[in-house]
């Protein structure tokens, strides 16, 4: 019985291979977009985890300064003498040419076995088998092979590649790292590597200014910082998956509708309800697995294509290193197939419910896709209203990134569910303008097609809204960012000296040749419990006039120059809830917050203090970088002269235009992935329209034949079919504009603030909408071209069959 019944069910697909292809393409595309994004995220997270776990920081307690900042190495010695088992760590960015790495200094003798960076030079026992090169000057930097080749010959210390080491990170003995980072005698924190000796005094007693942080994998700063970026990617993957599911829902719904008579016949001939449902479930599960596997392959290719851009973005934004090669993980395959099955189940749930409730003796004619859909329309309206109410509630009372995305999802789904009503309303209005019987029929027939096309049009609405929303966000960001760069990069030249002695000579040389020499100094510190940076800023008109302040107290720059006040970036302000007038604890004491500045492209907390105060708090930080104020026309000559005079490389003297170009390039690359997903989502929506029109094509004959018999030519009917698709796409586009703007607002005002810590003003770009509108109409015209041509070429004998009893 099973074989015969399954054969009858499957024969539907062999007779309608295009419908099968639609289902497979829809599911494969949806799975590909989702699993591709997941593969990228998994690869990035694996890289972070590898890096974070290298020293076991994810599961060992850490001792650090209570107010942030670094520590004297003597503190480590004192704790060891008191009986504490601790290991010192120092870390900092080390730049060489185009390559910047995170240098981590460790003391291999105090690190426990198994916690040392893997690879050459280390044995299983602490201190045993250590490579003498690692400990003795000039020392060795251990890093991944790719980073090692980039750094070869660029540092005063030999660099050695070690298998299994993370790229972008290098390990060195702590003494060598201190020298390379210009922080002699300093450490950042200590790992608690084991229980203290009996009678060891408590930390509160011997070092009340130090705090012990409990281990937590999720406390990994890099993971936390990049979580928001990955959540953004996941949301886009989910949106693309949802758009793909509309195709799947359409294909499954149509297949079930067309097979209603078969279901009834099977039941009448002795297939029980449960057996029928079981067979249908098996059929769909098989299709889902095949399509899902194809989608996983596509997703893997997609991830491979997008990963370099994502890696560049993560490096540019967060300094996070992600390996460029994608590795295949069994969990990823299983999750991908599971999502394909779950998506199919979701898309087929409604159809299954109908089959389960299908009365054996009910009229079994295909209903031409729920033409009697007034009830369905009312249900959709109610669901849309409920979702809109949920979105409003989330906007008013929700908080956090998840709530932001939930708001986004609810608003988009509400708009999609409302679309059929909007289309019906617009077409009813259009019908009032009808002149003549053909136009009358055209409007009425178009309204009749809405239920059948509504799923594809909903997918188009989602894709267009996402395009408008994300496009508006990116363009607003670009406009704000370029303006911000103009303010922030006010100096004409930026120069970096290789060492303190050259820097001093350079200042002497530059003094008569420039309007101002503004040192750029920076110290890494923990601010508000997170790794961040403190900058020293000179008291100069360049900052007073240009620095992009979002809010400040009166006399802000005088207060900064006086040393007791600081400026903080917007990210820190939002995260810690700090406003001008509040106070903040920093290394060196408690400071007043005099102002907040915008700081795009950086999720970490940042503080600016007066240069004089900075010098007294961080005397060990050398002044190697300077911003130079010169007449713009003299900048190029001075840059050349500086390079010649001090033997500097191109990277050491950079003009404003080059810095801006670099910053904008990083910015553009950040959104490459988003743009790619946008285009893919729109393509999927176009595909949804094409497949819907083609699959509905066969049902059109009984509707078109009477009109043809009354005197309309097939060519005219085909032209009207084309017009209908364009008209529906145009109305959908008009509905997508406000939806897209709402999406942009949510992204700019809620998601970005939660994810990155900055809020951007929203700008609108009607030119972009126009371009997208034309594109969507073209896509609709293209999608309906083939079905229209098929109508134009329908043999009269096929049309006549509609009137014969033999059809």
């Amino acid at each position: 019985m099973i074989g015969a019944a399954l054969g009858a069910l499957l024969s539907h697909w062999t007779r309608r291979p295009f419908q099968l292809l639609t289902l497979v393409i829809g599911l494969a595309t949806a799975t590909a977009l989702w699993s591709g994004v997941q593969a990228i995220n998994a690869q990035a997270r694996q890289s972070y985890a590898d890096a974070a776990n290298r020293l076991g920081e994810a599961d060992l307690p850490v001792i650090e300064a209570r107010g942030g900042g670094d520590l004297a190495q003597a503190r480590f010695i004192a704790l060891r003498r008191a009986g504490w088992q601790v290991a010192p760590i120092i870390e900092g960015q080390l730049a060489s040419g185009d390559t910047a790495i995170l240098l981590i200094g460790i003391d291999p003798l105090s690190m426990p076995p198994g916690r040392l960076p893997g690879g050459a030079g280390f044995g299983a026992e602490p201190g045993a088998g250590l490579d003498a090169d690692f400990l003795a000057p000039p020392g060795v930097l251990l890093t991944g092979p790719e980073t090692a080749s980039q750094l070869e010959g660029a540092l005063p210390v030999p660099v050695r590649a070690a298998e299994g080491m993370a790229e972008g990170r290098a390990y060195a003995d702590i003494g060598i790292a201190q020298r390379l980072l210009n922080r002699p005698g300093r450490i950042d924190r200590m790992l608690v590597t084991g229980p203290g000796s009996l009678g060891a005094p408590s930390l509160e007693r011997i070092a009340p200014d130090l705090a012990q942080r409990r281990p937590s994998g999720e406390d990994d700063a890099l993971g936390r910082l990049t979580d928001s970026f990955h959540l953004n990617l996941t949301a886009f993957g989910l949106l693309a998956f949802a758009v793909g599911l509309f195709i799947v829902r359409g294909a499954i719904g149509l297949a079930f509708e067309q097979r209603r008579p078969v279901f009834r016949t099977l039941r009448a001939l002795g297939v029980s309800r449960n057996a029928l449902l079981g067979l249908l479930a098996a059929e769909l599960a098989a299709l889902a697995l095949v399509s899902g596997a194809a989608g996983m392959g596509l997703g893997y290719l997609l991830a491979g294509l997008l990963l370099p851009d994502v890696a560049a973005t993560l490096r540019g934004l967060y300094g996070a290193q992600v390996e460029g090669a994608l590795s295949i993980r069994p969990a990823w395959w299983l999750a991908g197939l599971a999502i394909a099955l779950a998506g199919t189940a979701l898309a087929a749930a409604g159809s299954f419910w109908q089959v389960a409730r299908l009365p054996l003796l009910a009229p079994a004619q295909p209903r031409a896709w729920a033409l009697a859909s007034r009830k369905l329309l009312r249900g959709q309206q109610l669901a849309a209203l409920a979702l809109a109410a949920a979105a409003i509630a989330l906007a008013l009372w929700g908080s956090g990134l998840i709530a932001g995305f939930a708001l986004l999802g609810a608003a988009l789904l509400a708009a999609a569910l409302l679309l059929p009503s909007i289309l019906q309303g617009a077409l009813a209005l259009g019908a009032r303008t009808a002149r003549g019987v053909v136009q009358d029929w055209f409007w009425a027939d178009t309204r009749q097609q809405v239920p059948g096309l509504s799923l594809a049009l909903m997918a188009l609405l989602l894709a267009l809204s996402a395009n408008i929303g994300v496009g508006t966000m990116v363009s607003s960001f670009r406009l704000t960012f370029t303006g911000w760069l103009d303010q922030r990069l006010a100096a004409e030249l930026y120069v970096t000296a290789p060492d303190a002695e050259t820097a001093a000579r350079m200042r002497e040389y530059l003094a008569p040749r420039t309007g101002a020499i503004l040192p750029i100094v920076q110290a890494e510190a923990r601010i508000d419990g997170q790794p961040g940076a403190i900058y020293g800023v000179a008291d100069h008109a360049t900052y007073r006039r240009n620095w992009p302040l979002l809010g400040s107290v009166p006399g802000v720059w005088d207060r900064i120059a006086a040393g007791g006040s600081v400026l903080i970036n917007e990210q820190l302000s939002r995260r810690a809830g700090l406003v001008p007038g509040d106070k903040i604890d920093l290394p060196g004491g408690r400071f007043n917050i005099a102002g907040i500045y915008s700081d795009y492209g950086n999720p970490a907390p940042q503080v600016m203090m007066g240069l004089t105060r900075f010098e007294s708090e961080f005397p060990e930080v050398p002044q190697l970088r300077f911003a130079l104020r010169v007449p713009p026309e003299a900048a190029a000559d001075l840059a050349r002269a500086l390079r010649a005079q001090f033997g500097l490389g191109d990277d050491a003297v950079v003009d404003q235009a080059a810095v801006k170009a670099l910053s904008l390039a990083i910015f553009e690359r950040t959104f490459t992935v988003t743009a790619a997903l946008n285009v893919l989502t729109l393509s999927v929506a176009g595909l949804a329209i094409l497949t819907s029109l083609l699959t509905l094509g066969t049902m059109r004959l009984p509707q078109l034949a009477p009109v043809w018999s009354l005197g309309l030519t097939r060519a005219r009917l085909a032209r009207l079919e084309l017009t209908r698709a364009i008209l529906l796409a145009a109305i959908t586009f008009l509905a997508a504009v406000p939806t897209g703007l709402l999406l942009a607002w949510v992204l700019l005002s809620i998601i970005n603030v939660e994810a990155f810590g900055w809020r951007l003003p929203m700008h609108v770009f009607p030119g972009d909408w126009l371009r997208l509108g034309v594109l969507s109409l073209l896509a609709a015209a293209l999608a309906s071209l083939w079905p229209s041509i098929r109508i134009a070429r329908t043999p009269p004998s096929d049309l006549l069959k509609v009137f014969a009893n033999e059809r």
């Binding site: 074989g3 019944a5 009858a8 024969s11 009448a268 002795g270 033999e806």
Partner: protein, 218 residues
């Protein structure tokens, strides 16, 4: 073989349940043929559906080969329709995505009683040998009904139920199809219960019962 006692059926109506069958008694032996006639709404099709296990009665009993059909659950009734009963519908109800050969063999395969020789012979006797690879939409109404008859008889059911089997065919085609059906049913030894409006069809059956307002009139 078939024993129906005091069979009752109601349909819900605005003013309460409307009786469709008000206590039907009938019996049918192996190889017997019976025509059920009556006006529209007299309950003929409902009676056929109840006997075939396609619907539930509200009272009375149906015994088929010693099995109480009314006591069967969904799966039991499905098994009955597969193995014991064959139904020929007015609307043919062929599987549109299967060709003629596979449609004819379909129910026999469902019942696990497929006999390739018998199926081929049936197709030949029904004049369908040249159409075996055509799909239902490519056939005339008469040809489609012959496929439906073939599908039913290929499974060698003990009881054939036919609901207006020629109702969708012109008189000449209907008569030809009916002749074929009667000959083949007789050869398989099955009992046949046919619902019809046609006096000519009813006259060719062994017995005739007339239903009026849910009761047997004569």
């Amino acid at each position: 073989m078939l024993d129906v006692r005091d069979l009752r059926k109601f349909y819900p109506g605005e003013a309460g349940p409307v009786p469709v069958l008000r206590g039907i008694d009938l019996s049918l032996g192996p190889g017997e043929t019976l025509a059920l006639t009556g006006e529209s709404g007299s309950g003929k099709s409902t009676l056929l559906h109840l006997i075939g296990g396609l619907d539930h009665p509200d009272g009375g009993s149906i015994e088929l080969d010693g099995i109480d059909v009314t006591a069967l659950d969904d799966a039991g009734r499905a098994a009955l329709r597969r193995r014991t009963v064959g139904v020929i519908f007015q609307q043919f109800n062929l599987i549109p995505s299967l060709d003629v050969a596979r449609n004819i063999a379909f129910q026999a395969k469902l019942a696990g009683q497929h006999d390739a020789d018998w199926t081929t012979e049936l197709a030949a006797r029904l004049g369908l040998s040249d159409h075996l690879h055509k799909y239902p939409e490519q056939l005339s109404g008469g040809q489609q009904q012959r496929v439906a008859i073939g599908r039913t008889l290929a499974a060698r059911p003990r009881l054939v139920l036919a609901d207006e089997p020629t109702g969708n065919l012109d008189e000449e085609t209907g008569a030809a199809v009916l002749g074929l059906m009667l000959r083949l049913v007789e050869e398989t030894g099955a009992a046949l219960l046919t619902v019809t409006h046609s006096d000519r069809l009813a006259a060719r059956m062994g017995r005739r019962l007339h239903l009026r307002h849910g009761r047997i009139a004569r």
